[in-house]
């Protein structure tokens, strides 16, 4: 059984290593500061005992006030998981650091989020539309996009 690590428990340890990185926690997730996402993710990936080597899924949700990007991390070795969340308050030109350098599995998913949600991932090697064609107006996965 994959053990879902409690957010509070993990946050306590992380706060000491990378101060100021955690904004909030919940039972299964931690909410991470935008600026320290990269260092925190690198820490999660390499720290013995954690070793989240597998990024299963990336999602973005549009909450009107902010975008939330959700990373589902799993460790194949220890069989435990954690959910990382990042928020982005800029609606016009949202941007978040890319995690492609750490997990290549993020490549296509980040590209898809850019296409459908319009969040730019900084540092991504190929940040362009993936499923829709060039010249498509708007980002359909946003809540304020009307399909017809």
């Amino acid at each position: 059984m994959t053990r879902a690590i409690s957010g509070e428990e993990l946050a306590a340890g992380l706060e000491q290593r990378i101060p100021g990185s955690i904004i909030g926690t919940s039972k299964e997730s931690i909410l991470v500061n935008n600026q320290s996402l990269l260092s925190l993710a690198a820490h999660l990936k390499t720290e013995p005992g954690l070793e989240f080597d597998f990024l299963s899924s990336i999602t973005a949700v549009d909450y009107y006030d902010y975008f939330e990007v959700i990373y589902q991390l799993t460790s194949l070795e220890h069989n435990h998981s954690i959910v990382l969340k990042v928020r982005c308050h800029d609606r016009e030109n949202p941007a978040i650091p890319s995690l492609v350098g750490l997990w290549r599995g993020a490549e296509l998913q980040e590209q898809e989020i850019f296409d459908l949600m319009g969040i730019r991932f900084e540092g991504h090697p190929n940040m362009k539309r993936i499923v829709l064609w060039e010249g498509f107006q708007g980002h359909p996965q946003r809540r304020d996009f009307l399909s017809w």
């Binding site: 059984m1 994959t2 080597d53 597998f54 990024l55 299963s56 899924s57 999602t59 949700v61 549009d62 959700i70 589902q72 194949l76 069989n79 959910v83 997990w103 290549r104 599995g105 993020a106 490549e107 296509l108 998913q109 898809e112 459908l116 539309r129 993936i130 499923v131 829709l132 064609w133 359909p140 996965q141 809540r143 996009f145 399909s147």
Partner: protein, 368 residues
């Protein structure tokens, strides 16, 4: 003497016989060797995630059928499990068992198509895929018996199943799982040791363990590279913890290993179905849930199952209304294409097709 050569840009797809739908690769060739490849997606982007927001929870079930249309039952199950987790709906025991039987049958059907079309991509003229489709027809018959449709079943509901299986289902299923291993043996005899197939697939398209994990590969791709990671064992959902089965793994991570992993998984699925049939309890198949509208409490949930292609995850956000606020689908086929470039570059065009076939994608899930 210096000879100027110019690479040839070749568009493979989107309407190409072996791109499994409408996938497109923009390949740059040096002679026959591929020196660069760029996958292009989106030719089947139907906006399923957006459509989910416009529909009620119930109405989204038929759409999941069309996600990975080779394994509709698996998608049904994954989605229903996600909603059940979100709204805390209990599922009766019998329904769980029937779900497992359906999911495993669907895994066999999906792998049959995967293996058949993979062998077809290797150039065996139609024969393997026709044999495999014949086996699949038997499974489709069973599905038709329970749900009334041949491809888009729309069979599972929140809190169980739409209807109980008919009386004639279990004897037919018994007959099927008695026959199936024999046919699998026959198909192994057809091509398992074929020298040409070995030459075409052994050592071709090697995906190392580290790359596979780093690229978030799941399913037979990951297991073919030798990582024994199967959600049915690692994170047992439904009633999978009650069954005994092995996780077949490849050694080198080449196309042949992936092909063998799929064949072995079919045998394991038959094993699971046999156990599930023995343990199948009687009782209701659907807990008390509204037929039309449910309103799960506000919250979010990520639920994943081991679909035939890999980890199929549903990320649902509810705001307490009758429709999901956000529904994200983690399609295994889509993410399994991440390492396409590494696997294909340096091989010939013919190999590229074989490697691509061994990934086993379904465009409905790639583009969604």
């Amino acid at each position: 003497m210096v000879m100027k050569t110019e690479p040839l840009v070749l568009n493979i797809g989107p309407a190409h016989p072996s791109t499994h739908g409408v996938f497109r690769m923009r390949a740059t060739l040096d002679g026959e060797v591929i020196i660069d490849v760029e996958p292009i997606f989106g030719y089947l982007h139907r906006g399923i995630e957006k459509l989910a927001e416009e529909r009620t929870y119930q109405q989204f079930i038929p759409l999941t059928d069309r996600l990975d249309y080779v394994s509709a039952m698996g998608n049904n199950m994954a989605y229903c499990m996600a909603v059940e987790k979100l709204a805390a709906i209990p599922v009766p025991e019998r329904a769980e068992y029937i779900r497992v039987i359906m999911a495993e049958l669907q895994r066999i059907a999906s792998h049959l198509i995967a293996v058949g079309s993979f062998l077809n991509d290797c150039g065996a003229f139609m024969t393997p895929i026709l044999y495999m489709v014949r086996e699949r027809e038997k499974i489709v018959d069973l599905f038709e018996m329970v749900s009334g449709q041949r491809l888009t079943y729309n069979y599972m509901r929140f809190g169980g199943l739409s209807q109980d299986v008919p009386d004639e289902f279990l004897p037919a299923l018994r007959k099927f799982i008695d026959q199936m291993p024999r046919y699998l043996d026959e198909y192994d005899q057809l091509l398992k040791e074929n020298e040409i197939l070995l030459a075409r697939t052994k050592g071709v398209g090697i995906l190392s363990k580290e790359t596979a994990i780093n690229c978030s590969m799941t399913g037979p791709m990951l297991r073919g590279s030798g990582v024994p990671w199967d959600l049915r064992k690692a994170d047992p959902y439904s009633v999978y913890s009650r069954f005994e089965f092995d996780i077949p793994c490849g050694a080198r991570g080449d196309s042949y290993d992936r092909y063998r992993v799929r064949v072995e998984e079919m045998r394991q699925s038959v094993r699971i179905i046999r156990q599930a049939m023995e343990q199948l309890p009687v009782g209701p198949v659907r807990s008390k849930t509204p037929v039309m509208l449910i309103r799960p409490p506000a919250g979010e949930v990520y639920s994943h199952v081991e679909s035939p292609k890999g980890e199929l995850g549903f990320y649902l956000v509810s705001d307490g209304s009758i429709a999901p606020y956000r529904c994200h689908i983690r399609g295994p086929s889509f993410i399994n294409l991440t390492a396409l470039r590494e696997m294909i570059v340096g091989w010939k065009v013919a190999d590229a097709i074989v490697i691509f076939g061994s990934i086993d994608i379904v465009m409905g899930e790639v583009d969604r």
